[in-house]
Symmetry: C2
Subunit: 402 residues, 2 copies
């Protein structure tokens, strides 16, 4: 028997650890690997042989891991570039040395590209006996093929809840008030759109549509004329028709060449104040809290993420199962249900699934009934979580700090 | 029998409605008033005779009201000024007209001043048959006399939880990282200090101590040298020794002459980047979400706020009980327990209770064991809350929108 290795990459989510917990639990139910290793800091740590043994994780720790947000194994932004052959050689060398047969890699589309690239490299070089399995996660929900990505629903739940609660907060006075909630979402508006589940969003600004300043101001003014208040939700990645980000003043590139965003909410505030339609506008940028707020996990999301890890492990019993990503498919029918399926990781790598334009109402008026029906079952349920004596949720100590 | 009137003022909290629910429930248990009116938008709406009848609120609505954040009756920033005699005359006229004997007023130190002023006016003018009772609330926890103010513990719980979770989020990469969490707290550092309950705060910047830039940068650098990460918590109201706010660039005054703050986190970020000790610093301003995040209420806080409303109602059976504020006193002993007491509202009005300087460790290193012992029991417990079919917490429709 060989070992398997599970590692995490990309930005944290509230439920990314549940997938790791699922891999560990599946191997306890059917120990097809003699050891389940956790890779510290993704590919970056694996290249340095940084591992932790998760094989005999207790049921209690497994449960607490599921309620722990962020990447308990640590993460990385390190991308395996196909031209950098030395990295590939080193990675296979490390796997060979430690008798690691299978790598389960959780992440977004960059990470799924890593899975695809490793599988391609093995096939191109006739290297046998290794498997690479992708486990998707992203709060952005912008991954192709799947109905939704693990991690999205919990972030959406935090956003929808916070939207409702800050809407109440922003309407208590008789004065005119504009409140602007900024969510993550570089290219895809899923997170911003999810705020509409709260039922209180007046003006929704998504990155899928070129931003029209005059139409936006008209939409805000219409709300203010009607009720003296306006609740705006904006995605960080909103752009003008020429491709300039609203938050362009602050943009720069990260190591992958993505624009680093922030400030779309403040940009809208400036537009509103400059236009004179309101003298007040308050901005709340949900920033990192939205992707790590495990106290408000969706039970549906946690359970699916956990099962996805189990499914990935169980499918890997087939030695030919490699270069594949396990994903969630929604079953047609009156009651919400999902099945787990697998697709070539290359189908997900480096693509972006946008929020469907046909689900967007004109004039920033929010989302269609179809979109509401899509979101409706995803945020449901509150996991039974364990607390410490001070009233805070119990969380595992990060493995990368042990 | 006469009526009573309960109204809300000042900034929202997560549990301010529980006090209203307590007044209503107490009158159902012992109907010393024939009607319990809710005043819409505080004093501002009362002067306009805007009321809602809460007398026969169902147990179900009462429970949902307790889990509803913000001010369900609406709030106001309108201050009764003693020189503005017309307002006083009008208020007594409205109370007389509607047969309102008692006004329960929830709020912070400005609102307690309103309670004191109304009682003084009545006594000075020999107006009999009216009672004014203060019910304290503030997330800032800066009210005199009491052990803690209702509303504080739930905000503190959200802050401590979010601190822990964003700390995990900010440490997942191997790179150097500085994360700065900005909390509310104009003059008092209670909220910022409460982040220390999470156990992960490296550098705590409170408004009670004049800000020393060099000492701050040294504290951050020490952490970065030791572990390449630094988690900073800062209160919005931090000032230099000359009284200038860190966030001075954005400060202006609100209608009460208070400085409107925001941006202390960004000011620290700039200091850090300019100093060259780190190339990265991320800021999260918790903004309004921290005071309205009812999904993470402290059970202790909700129950105390509810009981405080009941206590205020029950004490008002004594016609001489006026110009008084009901408050929570911690009972000495090994187990956490409180009793409810009352004090002249003038003892609370217009004062600020700072976070004790003797609870602050030198060099921004956090808080003492005594401070930890103070916080420890306040955040405990998760109320059993009710959810709608989409997975969001049920909340009453604001009475000011009905």
């Amino acid at each position: 028997m060989a070992k398997c290795l599970v590692a995490q990459s990309g930005g944290p989510t509230s439920v990314i650890n549940a997938t790791v917990a699922g891999v560990v639990k599946a191997n306890q139910l059917n120990p097809i690997y003699d050891t389940v290793l956790g890779g510290i800091h993704g590919i970056e740590g694996i290249l340095n042989e940084q591992f932790v043994d998760l094989t005999h994780m207790s049921e209690e720790e497994n449960q607490i891991l599921r309620q722990t947000p962020s990447s308990a194994l640590g993460s990385c932004r390190y991308k395996l570039k196909r031209e950098n052959v030395a990295d590939f050689k080193r990675l296979f060398e490390v796997m060979e040395k430690h008798d690691i047969r299978t790598l389960f890699y959780t992440g977004g589309n960059d990470s799924m590209d890593t899975v695809a690239a490793l599988d391609e490299y093995a096939k191109a070089n006739n290297i046998e006996g290794f498997q690479f399995v992708g486990c998707p996660k992203t709060v952005d929900n912008d991954l192709m093929v799947m109905d939704h990505a693990p991690g999205f629903a919990s972030a959406a739940k935090f956003i929808a809840t916070t939207a409702y609660q800050t809407w109440m907060d922003s309407t208590v006075y008789t004065r005119q008030d504009v409140f602007i909630l900024e969510t993550m979402g570089r290219d895809a508006g899923w997170l911003a759109a999810s705020a509409c589940v709260s039922g209180i969003v007046d003006v929704l600004v998504l990155p899928e549509l070129p931003f029209d300043k005059e139409a936006f101001l008209a939409a805000v003014k219409k709300q203010l004329d009607a009720k003296n208040k306006c609740y705006v939700v904006v995605s960080e990645g909103v752009r003008y028709a020429d491709g300039t980000y609203l938050a362009a003043g602050e943009s720069k590139n990260d190591t992958f060449g993505h624009a680093v965003l922030g400030g779309a909410g403040n940009a809208l505030k400036e537009l509103i104040l400059d236009s004179g339609i309101s003298e007040r506008a308050k901005v709340q940028d949900l920033s990192n809290a939205q992707r790590s707020h495990a106290s408000e996990q969706s039970k549906v999301d946690v359970e699916e993420s956990f099962k996805l890890g189990m499914s990935a492990h169980m499918r890997s019993v087939d030695p030919k199962f490699s270069g594949q990503t396990v994903y969630v498919r929604r079953v047609e029918g009156d009651t919400y249900d999902v099945e787990f399926d697998a697709t070539a990781s290359s189908n997900i790598a480096n693509h972006v699934r946008n929020f469907p334009q046909e689900w967007v109402l004109p004039n920033f008026a929010g989302i269609t009934e179809e979109a509401h029906a899509y979101f409706a079952p995803l945020l449901v349920g509150r996991p039974d979580i364990k607390f410490d004596e001070k009233g805070l949720p119990l969380q595992v100590k990060p493995y990368y700090m042990r």
